[in-house]
């Protein structure tokens, strides 16, 4: 063991000690947390498979299972319609946003509570703001990589035609961004629910799974009964999925929606409301540790 280096602070009062850098320091640490979170994400086999790769697996399964049954939305004379892969691409993009935000963060943070990570961080000068920036940034980065790869796989492996109009890609950008941020905050909020890190997956996955079934991710939304469609409309995933369909499906498919159109203003409004709910719940429920557990 070698020397530890001189202690310049040396028990003296804090006068002259370097400062923590104020808001700049918080932002700088937040950026460093984004790198750290992203690195850990890709090194954790559970998240790589069940969060990152899962939409790819599901897209592959849907394409393989239903591809032979013909196109979706065909006219009686066999014209029109799109391939099963093309129909499910927007659904899988929505699933990726939900998994990267809600499922990933809810399980991740509940685990960090359970295994002492948060307690350790709570004993350092790390600002909770930097910590949240790291979580949010990590989700943005991983969800963006996931979405980009999904779109590339759809285009080059499955031969799906992509939108060419700039306006559609602009819609994609805001639906994606609003969806990811909303889901990230809801994930942080949901992480307060499991009583231990070990039970987190058991609590979170059923919620996420049910939402995907009723929100038009696994099942075609237009075949669901109206009450289920209305129920799904309460939650944010339905609106992410609808927004994504509006980007990637042909204009004629809008007639299959509940109101017969894509309703982008309603997509924006519902997601914005859930963003605020998620933000408030995150702020209210988050603790470095349960103080008197």
């Amino acid at each position: 063991m070698s020397a530890v280096g001189t202690n310049t602070a040396n028990g003296a009062p804090a006068a002259g000690a370097p400062s923590l850098g104020g808001l700049g320091g918080i932002l700088r640490l937040g950026a460093s947390r984004v790198l750290y979170e992203t690195r850990v994400y890709f090194r954790t086999p559970d998240t790589v498979f069940f969060t990152f790769l899962f939409p790819f697996v599901m897209l592959g399964i849907f394409t393989a299972a239903f591809g032979a049954a013909g196109n979706i939305g065909e006219n009686a004379d066999g014209t029109g319609g799109i391939s099963v892969g093309a129909y499910y691409l927007p659904a899988m993009l929505a699933a990726g946003i939900l998994l990267s935000g809600v499922q990933n963060l809810a399980i991740d943070i509940a685990g960090e509570k359970g295994d002492g990570t948060l307690k350790r961080l709570g004993g350092t000068p790390l600002s909770p703001l930097s910590y949240f920036m790291g979580k949010l940034g990590g989700v943005l980065v991983t969800a963006l990589i996931q979405a980009a790869l999904l779109i590339l796989v759809a285009r080059f492996l499955l031969g799906i035609d992509l939108p060419t109009e700039a306006g559609r890609w602009f819609t994609f950008a805001w639906v994606f961004l609003l969806g990811v941020i909303t889901c990230a905050f809801l994930g942080i909020a949901l992480s307060a629910l499991p009583r231990s890190g070990k039970s987190a997956a058991a609590v979170v996955i059923p919620i996420v799974l049910i939402l995907q079934f009723i929100s038009g991710v696994y099942l075609q939304f237009y075949v669901l009964p109206e009450w289920m469609q209305n129920l799904a409309g309460v939650f944010p995933l339905k609106w992410v999925a609808q927004g994504m369909r509006g980007v990637f499906l042909p204009e004629g498919f809008a007639s299959l929606e509940q109101t017969g159109e894509w309703d982008f203003p309603m997509v924006a409004l519902n997601l914005a409301v859930w963003l605020v709910i998620g933000l408030v719940l995150s702020r209210v429920t988050f603790r470095w540790i349960r103080k008197d557990a």
Binding site: A3, V4, T8, A14, L20, R43, G116, G123
Partner: protein
């Protein structure tokens, strides 16, 4: 530094969980540069006390000042001056030792150099190994490294050497002595009384939420508890023992009276003996003299290092 106000000041600290009183009014100071050992059995309230000082728990009543601030209200600048080694860790650790230390170094305004700290805890050969791949003792060293990376003025070590092999423990003691030489104030809890004796300047013993003794390592338990014990077997083989400040004279007397005594021992109570005497004395409800009245019980589990064979 001698005249400066204490780094830690605790007065009449109480903590209740529901109806359970974990701390029933403890008071002590830790001076700058001092290593203070907080001792006591499991469940005595040590961790509750230390977590209140670290800012993790709120107290029920009493006054606490740590580095001049109330831990319940202190902010990030205050935390930057602390180093905390928690009692238990179970992090998944999908980062390497060097990555974790570099990241934590970035949280502090004036950190130590990562490579120096990795060397200091003896993990140089594991710097690029993921923490999840380390043994329990090696992970504990990472905990210690994370505790000192921020160049703390006050370092909390909550049972730091659990799971260390003897060599690692001695290396850790050297590290703590170097930190102390640099002026770091240290609060240590441990179940290894030899560790407390090696590192501590002063010790406090907590039992059942009360501080039952406090003093320098040499004083604690009172002078009575440290009086050497002469033990032998008499001509009939019956065990005999005498507590005396003059063991040499007693032994000489025995020899003069009847030649070489059988099974002769002169025992100087170690901190462990004194501690056990204190805690057991408490448990008997203060009726007896603290541990000094029953040599068999108080020294029964004494480590061999406390005993000196007397050559006749």
């Amino acid at each position: 530094m001698e005249t400066s106000s204490p780094v830690v000041r605790v007065r009449d600290l109480h903590k209740s969980y529901g109806g359970l009183e974990a701390l029933r009014g403890i008071s002590f100071d830790i001076r700058a540069g001092e290593t203070f050992a907080l001792l006591g059995p499991n469940g005595a309230g040590k961790s509750t006390a230390i977590e209140i000082l670290e800012g993790y728990r709120d107290r029920t009543s009493g006054d606490v000042s740590v580095l001049g601030a109330d831990p319940q209200r202190a902010g990030r600048a205050w935390k930057a001056r602390l180093g905390i080694v928690l009692q238990s860790t179970g992090e998944s650790g999908n980062v390497t030792v060097a990555e974790q230390l570099s990241h934590f170094a970035g949280l502090y305004p004036n950190p130590r150099r990562v490579s120096e700290v990795i060397d200091a805890v003896g993990l140089a050969s594991k710097a690029k190994t993921r923490i999840s791949k380390l043994s329990g003792g090696q992970r504990r060293r990472v905990d210690v490294a994370l505790g000192i990376i921020g160049r703390p003025e006050l370092l909390f070590l909550d049972e730091p050497t659990t799971g260390f092999d003897p060599e690692a423990r001695h290396q850790f003691w050297d590290l703590v002595r170097r930190l102390k030489a640099e002026g770091t104030t240290i609060l240590l809890t441990t179940h290894y009384l030899d560790e407390a004796a090696q590192l501590g300047d002063r010790a406090g013993v907590i039992n059942d939420g009360r501080l039952i003794d406090i003093g320098t390592i040499d004083e604690i338990g009172g002078s009575q508890a440290r009086v050497p014990l002469v033990r032998w077997r008499d001509a009939d083989g019956a065990p005999r023992e005498v507590r005396t400040q003059e063991p040499g004279r007693v032994v000489a007397g025995l020899i003069a009276a009847g030649g070489e005594p059988a099974g002769l021992e002169v025992i100087r109570p170690s901190l462990e003996d004194v501690y056990l005497g204190l805690v057991r004395g408490e448990r008997r409800g203060h009726n007896n003299e603290t541990g000094a009245d029953n040599g068999d019980e108080t020294t029964g589990t004494a480590g061999g290092d406390s005993e000196e064979e007397v050559l006749a």
